[in-house]
């Protein structure tokens, strides 16, 4: 069982990306052996009001049991609480908010309110550190990358909140993990898509220093080739149990199941 917690449908505003349709994502899942994908509507990460994109996402995700929708919530938009309620009513695995693209302070009042509401609703909150390498971003793409300080503040802001953080590198993960209490760190999960494999062996090092429980399989497809996350695992010398934890079991634990 392999669950991709970090997948998208829909166009990217800053460059042409092939394979953004649901059908293409489905084909990519088959290509690399992904059994389930937690999918977000990519344009909603940039939308002033993502609720309309969520409606489309729910409709599309309902057409294939391998897809589980991760709707976007903008906590600066009036009525966001009802968007969260609708999401939890549908049994989504997580909701997402990428504050940099909404012009929100990443650990400001709105984000802390959303974190608390997610904690209360017992649904994880997903955030991306970045979507692209900072050196290649479009000149108009000025959204700041998510900082470790913001993640530490969010996980401390509510003792029930669970965060799934995607596109993080080793330095950020270590900064937040070891800058948190064990109880706080146990409410954080990190997807592996941006963590380097050999020869620097960042992923292998993190598995040794933090343990495998905190890591989940994610790809960032179709912005990134999903083959990359599979290759990272194929290059690791880990037991089948550890691999299964990363590929699916830890994600299920993040849900509380």
């Amino acid at each position: 069982m392999r669950i991709d917690v970090n997948a998208f449908f829909g166009a990217y505003p800053y460059r042409r990306v092939p394979g953004t349709t649901p059908e293409s994502v489905s084909n990519a899942m088959k290509r690399v052996g992904i059994d389930q994908a937690w999918v977000s509507h990519l344009p909603s990460l940039f939308s002033a009001d993502p609720a309309a994109g969520n409606a489309w996402l729910y409709d599309v995700a309902a057409t294939d049991p391998r897809w589980r929708p991760v709707p976007a919530i903008h906590p600066g938009v009036r009525g966001w609480e009802s968007v969260l309620r609708a999401a939890t009513d549908r049994g989504v695995p997580a909701v997402r908010c990428d504050p940099g693209y909404y012009g929100l302070e990443p650990a400001g009042e709105e984000m802390r309110a959303l974190a608390a509401a997610c904690g209360n609703a017992r649904v994880p909150l997903m955030l991306a550190v970045r979507l692209e390498d900072a050196r290649q971003r479009h000149p108009d793409d000025g959204a700041p990358e998510l900082a470790g300080a913001a993640l530490r503040a969010l996980v401390r802001s509510d003792r029930r909140v669970r965060l799934i953080v995607t596109h993080a590198d080793r330095a950020l993960i270590e900064e937040v993990h070891f800058g948190s209490t064990p109880e706080e760190a146990a409410r954080l999960w990190w997807d592996i898509c941006w963590i380097w494999g050999p020869w620097e062996d960042h992923l292998g090092t993190l598995l040794e220093t933090m343990g495998p429980e905190r890591f989940v399989f994610g790809t960032g497809q179709p912005l990134r080739l999903p083959e990359s996350s599979v290759a990272k695992l194929d290059l690791l010398d880990v037991t089948p149990d550890v691999r299964a934890a990363i590929e699916s079991q830890n994600a299920m634990r993040a849900l509380g199941s």
């Binding site: 460059r15 692209e132 390498d133 020869w199 080739l225 083959e227 990359s228 290759a231």
Partner: protein, 266 residues
């Protein structure tokens, strides 16, 4: 056959206490990926006693010697680029001659001097004479100067390549950060520049864009700092290309760019 045209190794006079582990990791991962030959460079002391991108002559000699030792230790698996700093012209030329005579098969230019600068011309001339390629570090679309390096972008490398049409240039790590679309556009009409696919980037659409812009005959597979992303791109190419085209990217283009006999089975 699979040739990694952009590999690196460390040595005992770098800042890396784990240099042996890193070198072993590259070779071990290379075995899993199926790499037949790592064509590597060592950039001096990697910043310990002179800057990585502005290495001193003494550091370059030590690094090149360390690489030659690795080539001797792993004669079937490791080949070398002579890393030089063109600001020290006489040293660069003598170091290239020394390293090529000792069996290295290419020249590595990092970011010590802008690619458009005439100081690079003597290096290119010796590359032509010896029939070896130049792997040139590139910042994909350099919009400004960046600290620690005098980086060049594809347009600047293309200017150099046009001055030296008989020399094969390898544009380093198209996936190594920066605007690769800018780079690919700059390479139109510059047939002596090849694109190395290495880098940590695995952007959707990048490989299709490489194929559409420079064509399969100018693509070289490589990994640089991340074997995992290199393997991912190779796996994706296996879906995009037929067998003959894939073989070109895996090693046949490299065999054409590097001197005859550079690889054990070419």
């Amino acid at each position: 056959m699979l040739v990694d045209v952009h590999a690196h190794f460390y040595h005992d006079r770098t800042s890396r206490a784990d240099w042996r582990e890193r070198n072993a990791s590259r070779l071990r991962a290379g075995e899993k990926v199926g790499i037949s030959t790592h064509v590597a460079s060592i950039l001096g002391s990697w910043g310990r006693t002179s800057p990585t991108y502005f290495p001193s002559p003494a550091d370059l000699e030590y690094g090149n010697d360390a690489l030659l030792a690795l080539c001797r230790e792993f004669p079937a698996r490791i080949r070398g680029y002579a890393a030089v700093n063109p600001n020290y012209t006489a040293h660069a030329l003598s170091e290239i001659a020394r390293c090529l005579d000792a069996g290295m098969i290419g020249i590595k230019l990092a970011a010590s001097r802008r690619a458009t600068d005439p100081l690079l011309d003597p290096v290119c001339e010796v590359a032509r004479e010896r029939g070896v390629p130049i792997l040139h570090h590139i910042w994909q679309h350099r919009r400004r100067d960046w600290p620690g390096q005098e980086a060049s972008d594809a347009a600047e490398l293309a200017t150099l390549a046009r001055r030296h049409p008989q020399v094969a240039f390898i544009l380093a790590h198209i996936a190594g950060g920066g605007d690769w679309q800018h780079s690919l556009a700059a390479l139109e009409g510059v047939p002596n520049v090849y694109v190395d696919l290495s880098g940590s980037g695995v952007d959707g659409g990048m490989l299709e864009a490489c194929l559409a812009s420079v064509g399969v005959e100018r693509l070289l597979w490589g990994a640089d700092l991340t074997l995992d992303t290199g393997w991912a791109k190779l796996r994706y190419l296996e879906r995009l290309l037929d067998g003959a085209a894939l073989e070109r990217v895996r090693w046949k283009n490299a065999a054409r760019v590097f001197p005859p006999g550079a690889f054990p089975h070419d």
